[in-house]
């Protein structure tokens, strides 16, 4: 099934920019666009006008500030008219999908310098008016009525605890680990160290997930500028190469909750996307070949599940990875050294791009206190919808 997706696109990331993630009450959607794009062009050593095409990822314009409904909202704050820009919308995988589309256009020769920008401005509204409102007010009048985003993942957590002996502490320790990592990241939304006890005792959101098992609602933007590998100028650029990109929509929004064959024990989308990306990148044993991973820990249970879905361990064994601290900074395979979504926050459209920037920065060796020593290959992973859509991107320091 992945035959058509097995062709490697020979693409390099040459410029990156990320704003501070957080409650950016002093900045508008447009400010975030400008700040992240200018960082990226500076990093790439190019001027704005050298960008030939753009992909804009904003997942929820209608619950944000009505910005990002089309590619237009990327160019307006930059006064960079006259080039093609497409808005990409694929739930929490939107940012990664913008990167994928930019890479495809470069590979197809549509343009020579492409930009993928993720930006989300959620805090210009109160939290109840945004994500919760979507589940309460705007979704189907019957299906899944009663869920918030947390609940759709908590349903997985409950079943996995029942099947595999995963404990509340195991889930909480994902949050403890990522908050520790986040304390080392000056762009993270929440920078604090916490204990297992604190996670367990924070207010319950959707049993068994507490507030500290859940990522915050955040503003932020991230940008990457990409060229074909053949166009990299080593005298100017500090490139990171894309070895593989997989994206798969593997279930629906409602059907998992009404399909008797859906076991709520894994995300098929992650497995499918990983299979595509691994094939392109020639990866057969990720645990041995990959040095650093960013996974989509919107809720702590999702990170645990993703260990298994990415093939880092067998089904039911994720708990051993967190218990053995294998995924902590300094461990066998550090995961979410940025602090993940739990600590950085989750401006939905920006997250996927931020994670690519994080891995690329690690591979460049520029991650400061949270640098994974000697990292040469990394993965960034996103999952969106209630586990419906996943993206896996493999990055490599070497070409």
């Amino acid at each position: 099934m992945h035959k058509k997706m097995s062709k490697k696109r020979d693409i390099a990331i040459i410029g990156m920019g990320v704003t501070k993630f957080g409650e950016l009450f002093h900045q508008s959607y447009d400010d975030l666009v400008r700040e992240s794009v200018l960082q990226a062009t500076k990093d790439a050593g190019i001027s704005l006008d050298e960008i030939q095409a753009g992909w804009l990822s904003t997942a929820f314009p209608e619950i944000g500030v009505f910005k990002g409904r089309s590619g237009m909202d990327l160019l307006e704050p930059l006064n960079l008219y006259g080039i093609p820009v497409t808005r990409v919308s694929n739930f929490c995988a939107s940012g990664a999908d913008a990167v994928r589309n930019a890479a495809n256009a470069l590979a197809a020769g549509e343009c020579d310098v492409a930009m993928a920008l993720g930006v989300e401005k959620l805090r210009d509204r109160s939290p109840q008016d945004s994500i919760v409102k979507m589940m309460v007010e705007l979704s189907h009048p019957y299906y899944q009525k009663g869920f918030t985003a947390a609940g759709t993942f908590a349903i997985y957590a409950k079943r996995i605890m029942h099947e595999f002996g995963l404990t509340r502490e195991d889930i909480a320790n994902i949050s403890v680990k990522n908050h520790y990592h986040g304390s080392l990241n000056d762009k993270a939304h929440h920078r604090m160290i916490c204990s297992t006890e604190q996670v367990l005792r924070s207010p319950m959101v959707a049993d068994p997930l507490t507030v500290m098992d859940s990522c915050p609602t955040t503003d932020g933007a991230a940008c990457v500028i990409m060229v074909r590998a053949e166009d990299v100028d080593k005298t100017k650029h500090n490139p990171v190469y894309i070895d593989g990109i997989g994206l798969s929509v593997s279930t629906g929004w409602d059907l998992p909750f009404f399909d008797p064959k859906h076991d709520f024990l894994s995300f098929q989308a992650t497995k499918d996307a990983a299979a595509m990306a691994y094939k392109q990148a020639g990866i057969t044993k990720p645990i041995d070949e990959i040095d650093v991973i960013e996974v989509h820990d919107c809720f702590s249970i999702v990170e645990l599940l993703t260990y298994e879905d990415l093939g880092l361990c067998k089904q039911g064994e994720a708990k051993d990875m967190i218990r053995g601290k294998a995924t902590q900074l300094g461990g066998e395979i550090p995961v979410n050294v940025s602090g993940g979504l739990l600590s950085c926050g989750h401006p939905v459209g920006a997250t996927g791009v931020r994670m690519v920037v994080e891995i690329a920065t690690q591979l460049r060796g520029n991650s400061g206190d949270r640098q994974v020593k000697g990292a040469t290959k990394g993965i960034s992973h996103n999952i969106g919808g209630p586990g419906a859509i996943a993206s896996v991107i493999v990055l490599n320091k070497e070409h």
Binding site: Q128, V136, F147, R159, P203, A206, P260, H262
Partner: protein
Amino acid sequence: MSFIKEYAIALPHFRISDKVLSPKGRKGQHAICYTDEDIITLAFQACEKIESDIDAILFATTSPIFKDRYHSSYLADLLGLKEGILAMDLGTTNRAGTDAVVLADRLLKSGSNENILIVAADVHYPSIGNETRSAFGHGAVAIVLSGKEGITKITKAKTYSSAMSEEFIYKGEKIQYDSRFARTRGFKNNLAFVLKSEELNSKSINKIYLNSLYAKIGFGQLKKAGFDLESQLGIDDVGKIAGHTGAAHGLMTLINSIEKNKDTSVLLDYHNGINLIEVESIELEKSSFNTKTTEINYYQDYLTLRKQGKFTARGYKSIEMFSSEMISERDKEMLLNLKGNKCKSCGTIYYMKALRCNSCKSDQFLQVQLSKNGTVYSITNEYYFPNSFAPTNMVVIDLDGGGRITVQQTDDMYPSESNLINIGDKVNLVFRKMMENDKKPNYFWKCIKK
């Protein structure tokens, strides 16, 4: 001749006692709707148990939720009854329920119908502060009258109209005449007229029931007619456990009577005239009124419950749920009648329609009826979904015989051992309103622990 062929009662799970409503409260208690119940869900709950092939439906209520829309037609649709069926609403007074019996009896005698479904449901709240002076209670009843056969024979079904009404509503205001004048001219006169005209005889009648808010002042008349109050007067058992259920109360009294008595009983259902229903029953040896209940502990909780249509969760005042008449109508068979789709090739049953089977990719499906019983596959408790009684418990259920559905738990205002749901538990689907703050009622399935 007409017969009661089958019947069913629906009372809400919750009860509030007069002691909770007021420190000066006496002994009464009231059946009271949960946040997601109304006359339609109660009526539906009663009708669910009905098995006969229905050719007419009469709906009686004094607390209509619709105007310019027949509840009977709406319910006929929800129940999947034949299109174009005779469907009519009756209302205005508490004897609307027995009015329907009188009407149905005549329709059956005329031979135009065979099985008539009579549904009566009422949900009234007294004004705040006056609860203990009111005999309110919520409930619904469904009775099928047949022209051919049944468990109880209806030997008389008559109406004696009276112009006088002791209290009534005019331009939204409650009007009360001088009570002695009104009750003498109204109830007493009307009762005397009925007893005389019908020559009701204490020898041939085993039990006599008086359904009226003024029943007591009619006891003298019954005595005069030769009835022994001690042994022959029927007691309002339903009122004791559920309160006065409005238009449903006469029919509930009738059912209580046929469940408790044999031979001939008479119900005199008074409000602005008397309906006389005489039945000949056999021993049924069952009681439809002893259901599992939970007491409401606090007046505050009762106030929250009666805010039907508005919820009080923090921070969500402005949120209204999206509801769509188009979606409800289009997917009616699935959403409301619980019809599923069975893959012709591999047999997997789906609640939701899909173009191709998730297991075998076949595109051929058969429509099947799904069960209302099932086993919990997974569950979570949502603390941030707006709900006056958070958390909202979301339950993934594998239905007996196939199919999976994900619904909210209901009747779970007070978490306890009896409603704590775990993976593997057995649950039942019940028909309720989807959310509390909807602009129009949006009915769907929820679940309760078995």
